[in-house]
Symmetry: C2
Subunit: 766 residues, 2 copies
């Protein structure tokens, strides 16, 4: 329970303690970690490294293991080893030499500052810097992770799991802070909202990348309230396919996306990560083909030419076509079967055959999706991106194409093929009918003319309801509930087999057999965490984006879609916290300043939404689709006009909203402005100091001028004839000092005579 | 001719001279200016201030004049006064005290650096900074101008022409550098292209704002070559209204606009002005209604709340409606009259009446435009913008609406009203016909049925040719040739009246009567320059943007449009140089990092072009408009589809082009990168220095470990039972040093037994 104090300790509190830390460990480690006595803690372990050895090549494994531990020791990390399950060793890692950590922390902070990620220069020495801005859990873990994984030439140990160099290293993960997790889950299950401090806490514990997901999810949830209420009212009051609701929903999408960009930027400033994607180091797997010298800086850089990558990226086109063809044809097949069975076929076994499309989809789709994902990953590897974020971004784009097809194609087919062209297309299922007849011995009745087959216009609404409600629930179950019980089952099974093994003779004793009793509980926990899967924030984000897509593309079909999502996301947010805490390894902190490539997906869906909403509103306008099902006769120009107008509304509102939101002040921007202001003040005072050193000239000597300017205009004329060296010098020597200039000018004024108009005016006045 | 050396002296050459300037005047002034002896120079005069006094209120004028000269002297400026034409004094201004100039230069450079406009910190003292980066003519003139015009609290003299405080100050202008101008015009008239050094020269002489105009014009000219060639080929080979040409022209527009943005940014980096618009000072005329304290910085700022401005901006809507109504109705009126006379009316005086629309347009349009411009300016003043660039931007937007109507409405009416709806609308001129009949005593023949009136489909092409060729030539003449002869005439007229006056008796002698003979020529030149108008770069830019509009909106009508513009702009570029040198006062240098608001206009025209080109291509496709003139029957869906597709092509190509261009390296970017790299290097070496001061820990003591790790696993077990204080300490004390960890781990590996699968495999191998 003592850990709770650390989680709740704010930077301000830490600062208010003694300014000079009594020991260095106190400066780097959170205060409780060095002196905690509770049994329920993580023993000060920062990371656990799982080393899988081969029982048949013991010598080689032993040698590699020695190297591993030595390398860790050389970067200032202390290690302890314990036995893991199934031929693995668990290497526990903590900080031994602060020198390395200091170096890494300070280098990282200075680099951030130079690249504009940090707004203020880090303090003049490391201790002061750490006092000013204490390390968060996430920052400490990230730095230790970098010590372990960075290349040796960059001061790391160079140990990265599952690479060519270290195939034996299965994983490196941090241990869950169970006390904090419990506190976290308890808090969330009672609060209905996450506030900014909650997000800060997530960021401090799990890093910015995970925190960004929760921030997105929370912002999305908050925004859903508006279309939720609006949708409910529309459902009550408005006609179905109301253009008003469509316009409001589209505008809402635009505002949400732009607001999120604003929010994202604000959070990046708050968390001091703005622009981190620009200072990323190269991926390990990146293979440079050229070494070029930057013309500007003279730095030698290993690069992979853009045109070469472009050639490889050209493969994306066949990939996309292939994905569309493979996944699309499956969906179309199921679609056709479904319609055939539902509306054409009338033979025996209809009640069973109805499930055929579902069965085909659920069996074939995962298989195909996995195959395509594999292909996408290989293609992405081949494209050879330099940084992890570029790689991720490119992969996301590929996966998004697939997700788009699997998620929306069914609905698009229903809305834009089945409903308008249904009457034309269903008769072409005639062939199928004939085949069906021959299979069913002509039991399919012929007397029902194909022209009479009614298309089922309510199908679209039913489908949307399915995706908005049923699929959400199913998804929630497969994501959270099933894995939980699966894991419980696995644990039970393992215990059973272990006890069976113990009762047997020649098999080796279980890993826990050698445990010291006082460590038993802790090691058991570590062993179970070692078996958890790693958390992939991208897949959770993808789920949200796809959900947003249903909203932006099809919510006009059934205005209660946002209401359903609102309810779903309340649970989703908490389920994700639950998942991270209990079903996944603690995610290794990663920095990010954005949800990255998904922003593009959001913008794309919003834009496409303006087209589909416009089209749907027109196509189903005038209550054209009632339960009796006679679709409104769609006119080409009407459809195109509504799409065109809808797109123009989108384009204009996009510009306006972006401009308006850019004007909004925010805490992050204020922080940035304050930092800039302080820097400015500092430099301006410096520059004034420099200016004082500039040579000073005597001020314009007023007194001297007074005595000189007793000369008349004639005197001035005389002076001009003096033989001064150049015309220029002569020109400037005629009037010495400003008083002479004034006198001469005044003389000109006095001499002047009013012109005709002026003199006429003067006369009049007289 | 000695000035020519200065103009051609590169910064490098200046640097290669002695590093410490022999005198301060040498440091600030260009080397030739301090010692030139040529008669044809400007006498070292930086600015001429025209002071208009009243011959009827001589005392007050004399007092004000004294104040003026005193104020100038107090900011370190020397003055000479000479008589000007018509009750004016010419005050010549040059630098007297370098202290003030130094201060201004250095403050300006430091401010630039702090706000990120300059990439490198200015050198530690002023002299070094000036040596490193010598003042250009433009920078020097700008700084002196700021000394004259800045508020007194900001260290200036506070003298701004034609303000409430100084209504007598008519203008402040720099003198033309005639030697340079001659050289410039000669060079341009022989070269067919401006290169980057020419632009640098313009920037050094006239400031960035003017240089940006020429850079834009040159970039535009270079880009015009592609559609010029393409258009010529299309004219030869393709059908009229070819979709191929339309797509190419639209893509060209997109590429041009995006390339210009890239180029603009590059030039801003080259000239060290990137982001200057952000550090602009407030306009004089700005009236703050509130003083608020910035929550972030605590600075007190005088502001005008955005919502209050928004209320005032709301007046833009009635203004736009009014502009459209007034200008539009005039154009529509002329349009109707023209068609009526051309195609309906057949009565007497037709040959004379044909000119009626032209007469109405040329008489009423300038009057209306001026009235609307006045209204726009007043509205803009009322909107109370804080900085000059915001003000200019808002005014530009308003003027653009008017320019859009006057330039394109006629063509739009022809293309989208007259051609498609001509047959429907012309019969409605029936009323006019009836009226005409009653006026012409029934001489208008009735037998010609209104249904038979043919619309004249070649009208659109003729109109486009008119705008592309005739209007360009007329414009060129009114802009350059007419003013030139007008000026020559004025000079002649003035000479005549002067000689007449001299022969007369009681009128005052001409201003030149008192001139010293050796100054006569110089003063005459200054007097004539004083009468020139000031150069407004915005109006020249507007002309180019409007021209671009014809290209982007209507070039598909007549593919030779770009060819015509290509020829026109070769002359335009040179005529503008001629105009600046001979017909205008030397422009006061101004900094800018963009062509500003016109960028938005370019983007808007490109977008709108995608719509009009799509529509025109469809409407006149299939060679529907031949000389016989029967317009293709336009289908709503076809028109909408082509517009829609065209817009999608625009949107996609816009994204792609922007992305591609963002990847292009450029000298400016290289310069930026180099500067960043140097800063980075500097700070990293500093940070390494700091790191050395961090406390050092002894490295992992390999040797010591060796002696300790002679213990066995049993020893390790024993140690664990020792009563160390906490479980954590116990946990970490079991293995002392990495060698022990390695040993223990190796022991685990040795103990392990292969599992079934592995042992099976081992057996097989055996």
């Amino acid at each position: 329970m003592s850990n709770q104090g650390a989680a709740g300790t704010s930077p301000a509190e830490l600062k208010s303690r003694s300014t000079i830390p009594r020991s260095f460990s106190e400066a780097v480690l959170p205060p409780n970690m060095a002196k905690t006595h509770a049994a329920n803690n993580n023993m000060g372990v920062e990371y656990v490294l799982i080393f899988r050895f081969s029982a048949t090549e013991k010598e080689e494994s032993a040698k590699t293991f020695e190297q591993l531990v030595h390398k860790l020791a050389r970067v200032g990390l202390a290690t302890e080893v314990r036995q893991g399950e199934d031929h693995t060793l668990m290497v526990f890692i903590k900080i031994a030499s602060l020198e390395h950590v200091y170096g890494e922390v300070y280098r990282s902070r200075v680099r951030d500052w130079i690249h504009g990620v940090r707004l203020t220069e880090p303090a003049q020495d490391v201790e002061a810097s750490l006092n000013e801005d204490p390390l968060t859990d996430a920052e400490r873990l990230l730095i230790i992770y970098q010590l372990i994984t960075n290349d040796e030439k960059d001061g790391g140990a160079g140990i990265r799991p599952k690479t060519k160099r270290w195939p034996q290293v299965e994983s490196i993960f941090a241990l869950h802070d169970h006390v904090y997790n419990k506190h976290w889950l308890q808090k969330w299950s009672t609060n209905w909202q996450l506030n900014i401090e909650d997000l800060d806490e997530i960021r401090n514990k799990f890093g910015e990348k995970v925190a960004y997901y929760f921030a997105f999810e929370q912002t999305y949830f908050n925004f859903l309230i508006y279309p939720g209420v609006g949708g409910f009212l529309a459902w009550l009051l408005l006609d179905s396919f109301s253009p008003i609701f469509a316009v409001l929903a589209c505008s809402w999408c635009v505002i949400f996306v732009e607001w999120w960009k604003h929010r994202e930027r604000d959070l990046a400033l708050r968390w001091g990560v703005r622009g981190v994607s620009n200072i990323e180091s190269k991926r390990d797997e990146f293979e440079a083909s050229h070494e070029i010298e930057d013309v500007a800086t003279g730095e030698k850089q290993k690069t992979f030419p853009a045109w070469q990558r472009l050639q490889r990226q050209a493969l994306q086109l066949p990939f996309a076509i292939c994905a569309i063809a493979v996944l699309g044809s499956l969906i179309i097949l199921c679609f056709v079967i479904e319609i055939f069975i539902g509306e054409v076929y009338d033979g025996p076994g209809k009640s069973v055959l109805t499930y055929l499309p579902v069965i085909i989809l659920t069996t074939c789709m995962p298989f195909l999706t996995n195959a395509m994902t594999g292909l996408a990953t290989r293609l992405n590897d081949y494209e050879n991106y330099e940084t992890a974020s570029r790689y991720e971004s490119a992969l996301t784009a590929k996966l998004f194409v697939m997700n788009f097809i699997t998620s929306y194609l069914g609905l698009i087919l229903t809305a834009f093929v089945y409903v308008p062209f249904g009457k034309l297309l269903i008769p072409h299922l005639d062939v199928a009918n004939v085949v069906a007849r021959s299979y069913t011995d002509g039991k399919v009745p012929l007397e029902k003319s194909l022209d009479l087959y009614d298309i089922n216009p309510d199908r679209l609404r039913k489908q949307v309801i399915y995706f908005a409600v049923t699929a959400s629930i199913v998804n929630f179950a497969t994501e959270v509930v099933v894995p939980y019980f699966k894991r419980q089952g696995t644990v039970k099974f393992r215990e059973l087999t272990a006890s069976r093994k113990r009762s047997g003779s020649k098999t080796e004793p279980s890993a826990s057999a050698n445990d010291v009793p006082e460590e038993r509980e802790f090691l058991a926990r570590v062993r179970s965490e070692a078996e958890l899967t790693t958390y992939d924030v991208q897949s959770d984000l993808r789920e949200m984006i796809i959900q947003f897509g249903y909203l932006s593309l099809f919510s006009v079909v059934w205005p209660l879609v946002p209401v359903s999502f609102l309810v779903n996301n309340w649970f989703e947010l908490r389920a994700d916290a639950f998942k991270i805490c209990l079903e996944m390894q603690r995610p290794t902190p990663a920095r990010a300043d954005s949800i990255g490539p998904w922003l593009d997906a959001l913008e794309f869906l919003t834009w496409l939404g303006s087209l589909t909403m416009g089209a749907l509103t027109y196509m189903f306008s005038n209550d054209g689709v009632g339960p009796d099902g006679s679709p409104y006769t769609i006119k080409g120009w009407g459809l195109l006009l509504s799409i065109f107008l809808s797109e123009q509304i989108y384009l204009v509102s996009h510009k306006v909203v972006r401009y308006a939101i850019s004007k909004i002040d925010s805490p992050g921007r204020q922080k940035e402005r304050r930092a800039r202001y302080l820097v400015r003040e500092q430099f301006l005072s410096q520059s004034l100091g420099k200016l004082a050193r500039a040579p000073t000239f005597s001020e314009v000597d007023d007194e001297k001028d007074v005595t000189i300017t007793r000369e008349s205009l004639e005197e001035e004329q005389r002076q001009s004839t003096l033989s001064t060296s150049t015309p220029e010098k002569k020109f400037w020597s005629r009037q010495q000092g400003w008083r002479e200039t004034a006198k001469v000018g005044q003389a000109y004024i006095t001499q002047s005579q009013p012109n005709e108009k002026e003199s006429a005016q003067q006369k009049k006045e007289l």
